[in-house]
Amino acid sequence: MAELRLARRSSFLPLTGLMCVLLLVFVSVASASRDVTRGDSHNQTNSTAHKKAFPVLSFNYEHVRKPFEISLWILLALLMKLGFHIIPGVQNIVPESCLLIGVGLLVGGIIKAIGEEAPVLDTKLFFLYLLPPIILDAGYFLPIRPFTENMGTILVFAVVGTLWNTFFIGGMIYGVCRIEGGQLASVDPLSCLLFGTIVSAVDPVAVLAVFEEIHINELLHILVFGESLLNDAVTVVLYHLFEEFTHAGTVTVVDAILGVVCFFVVSLGGILVGAIYGILGAFTSRFTSHTRVIEPLFVFLYSYMAYLSAEVFHLSGIMSLIACGVVMRPYVEANVSHKSYTTIKYFLKMWSSVSETLIFIFLGVSTVAGPHAWNWTFVIVTVVLCLVSRVLGVIGLTYIINKFRIVKLTKKDQFIVAYGGLRGAIAFSLGFLLTNSEMKNMFLTAIITVIFFTVIVQGMTIRPLVDLLAVKKKKESKRSINEEIHTQFLDHLLTGIEDICGHYGHHHWKDKLNRFNKAYVKKWLIAGERSTEPQLISFYNKMEMKQAMMLVESGSTAQLPTIVSSVSMQNIKPRGPARQRAIPSISKSREQEIRKILRANLQKTRQRLRSYSRHDLMIDPFEDNVSEVRFRRQRVEMERRMSHYLTVPANRQETPPVRKVCFESEHKVYTYDDSKSPRGWTAEPDPSPPDAVSLLNESSQRANQSSEHRAKHNDELRAKVPDEKEEQDQLKLSRCLSDPGPNKEEDLS
């Protein structure tokens, strides 16, 4: 079996390879075809005198050249990415970023060999088109809790660490240049400092690319990643500062002070711009309940505008983008439909993935293409200094930081933070922006070498090192409802204890912010009654929804551990008085017959899907304040067509009805309303008219069960029936058997 799979995989390899070669040829032909079309038009003018035949087929490549080439490049990049995942084993050794750089080098080499001019990583292209999706993806899904808990540490690393790196590298490089003399003697201190700025900033793209694959624990991930995001402000300020100084020639104290002021303006201004756009975005999403289709666009556009607006004023675009995403997210998520949420998530992931791939490939191509001035001393010294300054910086700062931290950073943590300081494309693009041409090539070569070194060497070795040092990995388990309850409980408890101590600490202010948020902000930014929904309830709803969807998508029990357990609500609820069983139980053979019929009907029903127009999405019951009547109408309609599913008539004396979602096809989401029992459904175990089968009886053996846990019961039952093959259907069925929730809970959401 494994051999077959392997054989199939390896047959993809030549195919992918062939396709790539074809693409490459195409690209070069495309760029060379400029001459062909010119030739054509020349011929045209000559033959106007004669009447020519009507051209049935003509060739006009110029018309589509630019978009064609862009699409080709992106397609090539994605095919490469695909290829890496198909080749077995490569992934575990070499991180994707290295492979992509390798491909870029290859492509660059081919293009150069053909004699064409290779596209270079244009700064404008990079900063305006390739970088924002990655940052937005990172910012929107930033885990807020660990980020704010470690904010102090992250800021210290980002600001002080980057400053230290800059001055240390710049200073030492200048010293080395002075000592070395020769070609390097003409390097002035400001240029060195500028170079130091460019090469010292930890790059978010590279960090993301490498750290995604190694799954280290949350703390380290957020430390390195947060640092890479926040040091953008420092980099921007220092870069512009030194560039100005290089032109001006002299530095005064006033300039230095202005530089410090500029730093605050840049960072705080960037955050402010981002926050404003974030609030605008949240406010807009409040009114989108009737035009769900364009909801994701608002998120993307407002964020992009935030980035561009910040760039207009030379504020930190990255911080603006992060602030926008962070501010917007809780409100937008409360307002948009589930589908829009999924769309946003997938589009962001998709764009950031494409961007990242393109960046690395272009990095490789630009390396081959660009003018280089290799100077052994300079390059080697730069690489060594980068490493040394990073290590020293981290150790020194951690020593200071640990005095203020409760959960101290151990030596292992420090090592990972130091080793994870990767440089990437931002350094390259900034280097490209340099205007001084004589030093520029040398600097650029050194920058590229540093980037290659960190991404390739450090990127490849960090995974085995993490395993070797036994660094704590990310815990894979999903958030449980108990943990959520206790996290909130703990928050309130600690706030209370702080109040009793009379000590206004961390928790006190967080609590105040939350209350302010709930009292004022949420009212403005969240539509309808969702604004008053407490976090625990929305968490619970989300969790239930996720479980339901997982069930449908996976179609097997293996992935949901809770289902495997045979514990059900019956085991937990206290034994009440013996209840009348209104529904008689049926025999096993009857059960099997019923199941067979249901299965058959299920397949038939699948084909009768209702089409929907582009403009009118299914109403997602979780967030709309739809009236009961509408629900009932929907349900009745559905029942008429899919009469094989049934809603369980409840013996609902004590258990509260809970809203349950039933997915019976990919396109529809309905809720059931349990208290309104289907008219005419009785406990008839008569399987002959297929449309009138009632599955009631299956669950009747365990009557009086409450809502969501009926599914588990049916799994139990199923286990007893030996001839089960189509678990998928069963699960879908059993999920549909869960009780509809009554509409009391509609008021909540």
């Binding site: 005095k403 108990n482 009793i500 202010w509 407490p534 085991n571 139990e716």
Partner: protein
């Protein structure tokens, strides 16, 4: 004043709370109790900033719960002295760099025990479904008019989760009595209590960054 020095010799608290912090807590205690020897529930009730807290009652109750005094008694007192106050506060000290793994384990157990006692109002060593429902209800109490059903549903789901994680195979006729302390530990071990349940104020080594001090 000397009595408080002897308190600091209590072996349990000894290495964890500094003298300076004991003094601060003592000053606070004095203010809360109107310079008397003991405080009762009404003293703690009258702290204005606690009014916004949904679990105010449980927190206050925890101070008067004898189980938190580590003396194997059950029940609750009417009034507590400074020593008991300090004892309860010691549950919130953070770990330091010097804490060994075993000490961290012990600390985690202690903090989880504190939480467990807060939930187990019936003093019977298990958290029953009714008690757990009450916990969730109280948590949601300040969040507007939610109603009982939501709290019940959440508590039921949570309980089910505890049961299914700890006792994966139960017959349909078995009854899960309640969450025992072991199950409670198991379900919350992912949260790493010793790194979460602390008040900065009580850390020996970090300088306290006091953002403001209440004068109430």
């Amino acid at each position: 004043y000397d009595t408080f020095m002897t308190v600091s010799c209590h072996s349990y608290v000894d290495t964890s709370i500094s003298l300076e912090q004991i003094e601060n807590l003592h000053k606070r205690f004095q203010r809360l109790s109107d310079n008397e020897e003991t405080i009762s529930r009404k003293h703690l009730d009258s702290i204005p900033s606690l009014d916004n807290n949904p679990i105010k009652k449980q927190i206050i109750e925890a101070f008067f719960d004898k189980r938190n005094q580590h003396q194997d008694e059950v029940g609750s007192c009417e009034e507590i002295g400074f020593e008991q106050f300090l004892m309860v506060m010691s549950h919130f000290r953070p770990p330091s760099l010097k804490t060994t793994e075993e000490e961290k384990e012990a600390m985690r157990k202690e903090k989880l025990r504190f939480l467990f006692n807060m939930h187990d109002t019936g003093n019977d060593g298990t958290i029953t479904l009714v008690e757990y429902r009450k916990v969730v209800e109280e948590l949601l109490s300040k969040s507007g008019d939610i109603g009982q059903e939501a709290a019940k549903a959440i508590a039921d789901a949570a309980m089910l989760e505890v049961a299914s994680t700890n006792v994966p195979h139960m017959d349909p006729d078995d009854f899960y009595e309640g969450i025992t302390f072991e199950h409670f530990e198991q379900i919350l071990k992912g949260l790493e209590m010793e790194t979460r349940m602390y008040i900065r104020f009580l850390d020996v080594e970090t300088p306290t960054l006091r953002c403001g001090k209440s004068t109430s």
